[in-house]
Amino acid sequence: MNKNKVTTMAAKKLSLKEKYSLLTRDLDWEFSYQDRKDAFPMEEFEGIKITDWSKWEDPFRLTMDAYWKYQAEKEKKLYAILDAFAQNNGHLNVSDPRYVNAIKLFLTGISPQEYQAHQGFAHIGRQYGGVGARIACQMQSIDELRHVQTQVHAMSQFNKYFDGFQSWSNMQDRVWYLSVPTSFFHDARSAGPFEFLVAIGFSFEYVLTNLLFVPFMSGAAYNGDMATVTFGFSAQSDEARHMTLGLEVIKFLLEQHEDNVPIVQKWIDKWFWRGTRLLTLVGMMMDYMLPNKVMSWKEAWEVYFEEAGGALFKDLARYGITMPKYAALVEKEKEHISHQAWWTFYTHGHATGFHTWIPTDEELDWLSEKYPETFDKYYRPRWEMAKKLEAEGKRFYTKALPQLCTTCQIPMLFTEMDDPTQIAYRDTVYNGDRYHFCSDGCKDIFHDEPEKYVQSWLPVHQILQGNCGGPGVEQVLSDYYHFNVGADNMDMKGSPDEKRWKQWKGVA
């Protein structure tokens, strides 16, 4: 090459796609000295066939310099607001101190999963042989780290003034109801790299994320929590990138080889079911834990899954992908699960790291209005009974520990959807041991990989086996879970949270 070429040529204008390709895709090379399969050893064991990584369409074309620039601007704004929130005691502006329990559930139940998402994306961000997909996963990995850290910072102020936040790190891998989200992410991370991406990138981030993120963040907005809602807005543009990655991976896998279609369908079925089970906690939060309601769980399901998801699966039909198995059952479940879950938490409120309560009369009326088919018939009478008992000074706590589903790890609280008075109960025997399930969906998942799910660390089994200290539940709560017993748990009424709030507000 000679110098003249440089001097005479006007710089060619590169398209974004060409430029991104040169700056990213072209970094990879064909190995000569090692077997490439030893460097990227996990691509084949799931049976997925990748014939040509170069067919990967980068869902967003962000170079690192632009990433640093945009993300730093977002962080600057976010932390300015978090600082202002702390300086002005923003926690005093929430609608009602009961609201704070929703974000206790978020910090203990969701934030640790953001960290697991960060770890899972780091894993596949190392393992994928295709450089385009790999780098998109690396960016999601660092975004997810951002999310856990900004959530911890946003809630740090609440931790200073309310109970139930302080032990989130210890609680994440121990507490009975937190094993629901924790095992969900363990399941995805322990799977192969393509199942992980279908589970988290597609089924969770693309299909179901609006049912997790929007309810919590809108809940924060409706209830005066500026710290959390600011985090939510700030994270939204990251989420948009994650969703396009989730969709791209599905299309890529389906286009690479027809043999991938049944594998992907199986994963969609599995993760849709596991995802909806996990979202029970969100449904409960929306219907019962937000003093100012955003919308009912049922409405959210209709808007974000039945309409949006319906259109998506219509679009995927050309690849031979059908609606997830049990989607029809979930249409029935939307009428029931939030009520069944909050009742379970209410009655186990002594073992729960946030406060529970009976809905106010206005809230009961709202539930009756939102669930005309089911609430008055099946659930309102329970709350009327609980109100009566409470008025008599006999607030009810069940003494028994709940039996858990081996797969989703939710207590066996769901009913048959055609008979809401009958608890749904499935079981199977594997290698001489009996395993219990809340549903056909969870039983199917177990049957497909029993050797995986027999490993489940079921919190109630572990307590009963003496692996969580004891001897009583109280010691498990204080010594193993690190609850401040008497402050973090029990009813909202009479809690230190409530007393302090009244002092701050100057009401008796």
Partner: protein, 327 residues
């Protein structure tokens, strides 16, 4: 409402989270502390990974190095995501104005042909080494233990992708966006005899299993030699050959090295002072990779800079190792 009056006297119930209080006492915590310590889960993993059934999902035994507390690896820069991206955004702003200046003034056209050839043959192929460094730091992020070190490895992984992209942009500036320079440089990386031992070494790092050993191989041994040879000695040669303008395009790497060295040297010191066993292990690993890297860089260093260059770079590495208390 009289909120403003009350807020001035509102006493917090606690200063920070319980796990932070256990480590640092009952006092207000920094954002670095709350974003870092004990964030990663440590127990009760539900399922063994299908892809590594010998280990738990988060498992300290993916390296032979032992630490009583993996959170001893405090980052002296105190980088959590927010501070990291803001610091890098400042660096990229500076880089952006350098690149813009370089292009606006048409400085590529003023480069002597020999300088251009030096850059294309020796500097730009490094973008592939940077990609290996990206993967190797991702490896530590994914399989390392404790947020203190894994988050720093992730920041370094992303830095390396960024550097690979800056190097690629130098190529595009030199070839007027035709990508000819990038293709030519890739040709050297793939086929030029002096590059092959280094490419073989990069490929070898990509099949390593022990993440801390890999961290030493990449971030200590290879990177120390690479930085000295290319960004110190080659830089001097370019200046001598009337190519000092290139330094505008590599200022980011200079700043990055300064910043990352603080962290790297802290990690080395902490790991080695933990125990005699760690010291022995690290001494073995470093000596093994020093040997491999010295061989791999040798033909390139001679071709690019002459006989003494590698000796100088190795002395730099040995100095750094000694400073950490190894040997």
């Amino acid at each position: 409402m009289s909120i403003q009056i009350k807020t001035s006297t509102l006493e917090p119930v606690r200063n920070t989270f319980a796990h932070i209080e256990r480590r640092f006492g009952d006092k207000p915590a920094t954002r670095y502390q709350e974003a870092t310590y004990d964030v990663q889960a440590e127990t009760n993993f539900h399922y063994r990974p299908l892809w590594d059934p010998q280990h738990e999902l988060n498992d300290p035994n993916r390296t032979a190095l032992k630490m009583a507390d993996w959170y001893a690896f405090k980052d002296p820069r105190q980088f959590y995501y927010g501070t990291y991206v803001q610091q890098r955004a400042r660096m990229q702003e500076n880089a952006e104005s350098n690149y813009a200046f370089f292009e606006k003034r048409g400085l590529a056209e003023r480069l002597p042909a020999e300088v251009r050839d030096l850059v294309v043959r020796f500097l730009i192929p490094l973008r592939h080494l940077e990609q290996a460094a990206n993967l190797n730091n991702m490896y530590g992020t994914a399989y390392g233990y404790g947020t203190a070190i894994t988050q720093a490895l992730l920041y370094n992984a992303m830095d390396r992708l960024g550097i690979a992209q800056y190097l690629s942009r130098i190529g595009l500036i030199l070839d007027g966006n035709s990508s000819d320079a990038l293709q030519e440089a890739k040709g050297y990386w793939m086929n030029d005899a002096v590059w092959q031992p280094l490419r073989a070494l990069c490929e070898e790092t990509l099949v390593q299993k022990d993440w801390f050993e890999l961290f030493l191989a990449q971030d200590l041994v290879i990177d120390t030699l690479m930085f000295n040879l290319f960004y110190v000695q080659l830089d001097e040669k370019l200046v001598a050959d009337d190519g000092q303008d290139i330094a505008m395009l590599t200022e980011f790497m200079q700043e990055w090295n300064k910043d990352t060295s603080r962290w790297l040297e802290a990690v080395l010191k902490i790991a080695v002072s933990e125990s005699e066993e760690n010291k022995t292990l690290m001494t073995e690993w470093i000596s093994k990779w020093r040997g491999k890297a010295a061989e791999a860089f040798a033909p390139l260093a001679i071709e690019m800079l002459g006989e003494d260059a590698l000796t100088i770079a190795l002395a730099e590495l040995d100095k750094r190792v000694a400073k950490a208390g190894i040997k």
